[in-house]
Symmetry: C2
Subunit: 556 residues, 2 copies
């Protein structure tokens, strides 16, 4: 009798469940539910308005995803719930909420419903920037050695700035919260009835280290004396590695989902990292790039190295037993969208229309016939700062080589190439730091839909590129972790690596470097690197000075 695992992927606006055959990897059904409250960035349900930069969610929406999507896929496929051996979930991160000891979110309690701090702070809640700045300053002053693991800077999106904001602005919520917990761990708790914490979010978002633990209480005290014992009072020191079992479906969760009690549940995971086994990655040296509006890179290694400009390095952070490195490019698809919105001339729309071709396709047709180097352009892909390897939000975009004959498609292609050069900088930085990169797998919208861009990437990084075989990478990855939580005794797997090899999916398409193009792009990359270092490493801080002048001009 076939066995199945369910993966549930919680995105920013909706949750999706997928049912997977744990032997064939076939995705038999999927079901999506949009969050009823969506992203709350203007007001909370009581009507209370939110300041700028806030982004909240409602935890009831997550429960509704379980209640709707799991029964739906069971119904669609008419399989026996007894044949579902495991469940895994992944979530956006860092997305956290304050809860009581029993897991009840504070926003479920009448007394706190009108307090914005009682809700889920979504990953893109950016109102704790001042806290992050202070934290970075204090950590640097104290020479906290964990700082280097995060490229020297922690983000305002992460756990401690967000908790610190609650403490400062709503001490009553801080006090009432028995726990602050990642949403991924909270939904697992709702399935199992047991609180667990996963190594991925603990490591990447809460500065936890498998051997060294959290930063010291003295550090937290230096931030604010009231935070001295924040780890023991509000978090948890017991961290489970990815691939572990969090527990089994509770009676309450069985009622909610239609699954049987005792079905295995994996520890919580994160939407990007969970994709690793979904594309068949089963060990170190294989880089996964999830390419969308921005790009997230995940890579495993057997050693912990200090690699400049990483978002983080975490043991068990991607798959158990390895060091997971995360790097990022803050502007990829966003670049191309900016160009189309702000720079694509009317005449191209007219020509596209008269040829009956979609404008994006029209532009691509013009860009893809260009040869590498033919435009004479080179750009720095910093329209949204540089995440890796410079970790500098104050850098801005640059392009050079324009002449009166420069065409829009040449600019467009130069932007694509610039993001690929940015990727190559990351790869070369890994290698120069002693972290091998031997394979490159791409997932996400661009990887799936944009062959021209993928060929450019292959030519620029001079590596073949394989593409994720599932368009539901995160949900498939979660299902794989569910099958591992179940274990081989019930038809699952004892090792996520084995599961990855069997259930991971790649398309047949391979983008193979063209040796002529590689030669030209090597030359262009040398130019990129020279400009990257000149503008990015302090020789000419013109971009920062222009930002200062801009602020003065705007009176901010």
């Amino acid at each position: 009798m076939a066995k199945y695992s369910i993966g549930v992927d919680f995105g920013t606006l909706s949750g999706r469940a997928v049912l997977v055959n744990v032997v064939t990897g076939e995705e038999l059904a999927s079901s999506v539910l949009d969050y009823a409250h969506g992203v709350m960035d203007e007001q909370i349900p009581t009507g209370r308005k939110l300041p700028p930069d806030w982004a909240l969610e409602h935890p009831q929406d997550y429960l509704d995803v379980f209640a709707h999507t799991i029964p739906d896929i069971l119904k669609q496929t008419a399989i026996n719930p007894a044949d579902v051996i495991g469940v895994g979930v992944d979530f956006t991160a860092c997305t956290i909420l304050p809860v009581k000891k029993d897991g009840t979110p504070l926003c479920f309690i009448e007394e706190y419903k009108d307090n914005p701090h009682a809700y889920v702070k979504l990953w893109k809640h950016h109102a704790a920037q001042d806290k992050a700045n202070k934290l970075n300053e204090i950590a640097a002053k104290r020479c906290e050695k964990w700082l280097a693991r995060y490229g020297g800077k922690i983000s305002s999106e992460w756990v401690i700035p967000k908790i610190w904001q609650v403490l400062d602005e709503a001490p009553e919520i801080y006090k009432a919260a028995d726990r602050f917990i990642e949403a991924t761990d909270w939904v697992v708790w709702q399935l199992t009835g047991v609180e667990t914490r996963n190594s991925c979010t603990a490591g990447y978002k809460a500065m936890w280290h498998k051997r060294e633990g959290y930063p010291s209480n003295a550090f937290f005290k230096a931030l604010d004396p009231r935070l001295e014992n924040v780890v023991d009072e509000k978090l948890m020191r017991d961290i489970k590695p990815l691939g572990a079992r969090a527990g089994t479906i509770s009676v309450a969760a069985a009622r909610l989902t239609g699954l049987l009690p005792c079905t295995a549940v994996a520890v919580g995971n994160v939407d990007a990292h969970v994709c690793m086994p979904a594309v068949g990655i089963d060990g170190p040296g294989k880089l996964l790039a999830i390419m969308g509006t921005s790009t997230c890179h995940i890579l495993m290694s057997e050693e912990e190295k200090e690699v400049p400009g990483m978002c983080g390095v975490v043991e068990d952070g991607a798959m158990p037993g390895y060091y997971g490195y995360e790097a990022g490019q803050s502007c990829v698809g966003d670049h191309f969208a900016w160009f189309v919105e702000n720079c694509l001339p009317a005449i191209y729309y007219e020509q596209a229309k008269s040829q009956g071709v979609n404008i994006h396709k029209f532009l691509r047709q013009k860009a893809e016939v260009l040869k590498p180097g033919e435009s004479g352009l080179v750009a720095l892909d910093w329209w949204n700062g540089n995440r890796s390897v410079l970790v500098d939000v104050d850098l801005t975009g640059m392009m050079l080589g324009m002449t009166l004959l420069t065409k829009p498609e040449e600019i467009y292609r130069a932007l694509i190439e610039a993001t690929a050069f940015g990727t190559r900088m990351i790869i070369e930085t890994f290698r120069e730091s002693g972290v091998p990169v031997n394979e490159y797998v791409a997932a996400g919208g661009i990887a799936e839909k944009d062959p021209m861009t993928m060929q450019i990437y292959a030519d620029i990084i001079n590596m073949p590129i394989r593409i994720s075989g599932s368009s539901q990478g995160p949900a498939l990855g979660s299902a794989i972790f569910g099958a591992v939580a179940a274990g081989s005794a019930v038809g699952g797997y004892d090792s996520v690596f084995e599961a990855a090899r069997i259930l991971g999916k790649l398309k047949d398409t391979v983008y193979t470097p063209n040796s002529e193009n590689v030669k030209t792009y090597d030359k262009l990359f040398n130019e990129y690197r020279l400009l990257h270092d000149y503008f990015g490493r302090g020789a000419n801080d013109v971009m920062k000075r222009l930002k200062e002048i801009k602020k003065e001009a705007k009176g901010i």
Copy 2:
């Protein structure tokens, strides 16, 4: 009884005559004739095809301008030709033609009609680039000291490369030509019956120097032994200063034009330089900028200094008795046109249309409300290379500071600012070389029609800007030189400086620097200068390397 002077301005596509009252400066009438043959860049009248980069004209068209426009303005105003005391002409340059001893163009002679080299080579005939390259190489090797007066490089557009091309490709034409002559001198010859040569074209286009004469015969021999005596055989060593009288209307010219014989005719002039008196410039330190697709700067000084990157410095080159300096920016209006054509998004056209506003006005409305520095952008205005002060056609454009919020109008304004920074580099280079710049007068289409741009220029160069008062600046300037050729005895002037003060015209508008903007632009100019020097003076020759890569990619 009022006296009048006629100025005839020969442009690239048409000629225009203007009748001016020599006491009031009033422009009483004007008349234009398009050249029947236009610019011949595909074939000559016999049907013979032209190679790429050629640009010819037909001298009959110039005679037709005299025959049509002068009678026309006389008729329009019904004035007595006896009251016309002088005529002046100006022309594009270097625009030259081969003629017989009596002034007959070779292309008028049956035998040569089918030979393209028998026609006028227009200023923008670019098929002699290989000759210019060779000439520059040989001159540099021989350490010819005159080379420094031309920014170290002479252009393929100038006299010797053009003559050399004739010699090489059509030695029979070279042999048959008794003279090679600038069109401006040839049309004066047609009016007076006497061959003269003017100091402006001789100095700026034929490497002539008032005290040192032409380059040595040894130099010309080094180019090609057949050129050893080119000056004596084909040009003329007797050069008349601007402001001198070339002669008087001949009997034949009287028949052609309706003017009386003995009317004074000024020596030939050039369309840019002739504008100096037309805007009232009467001495050194007053810079004239003629701002159109490109910008030409003319400035006089009492001393001959070596100013890096000038197009030339010529005694009597702009007005008699002073050293005339010419500088240039190869891409000004062209920048803005490139932007509008290639970068202005469809949505702006839609919005402009729905508001019933012209797209250029719509864009300007958005750009002019921006504060200096607000965009965070800075650009290098090198889309068409850099003429002054770097004299480098292989430089290309650069822009930096872009973010995902950067708007088209910000890019547009940054391009305008970049051209103004380029102007400031020229002004500062003059000053640093000991050539004072105390006043700034602008003429040309941009000066007349674009107040936003002119205010930006005033703020960036931190000088008030006055605007030419006549929209027929060259024709007015020619008429002024005509009145000077006539002299005070017949109601004209003995000094072009006096005539300039009385007849030159400026608008009442003055663009006065805004001190707040000046402060911000000073900071931005520092950034421009830093980047200008970094990319323009050899620290990072990325632009040239990209051009090489581009050539390889295109297989050229």
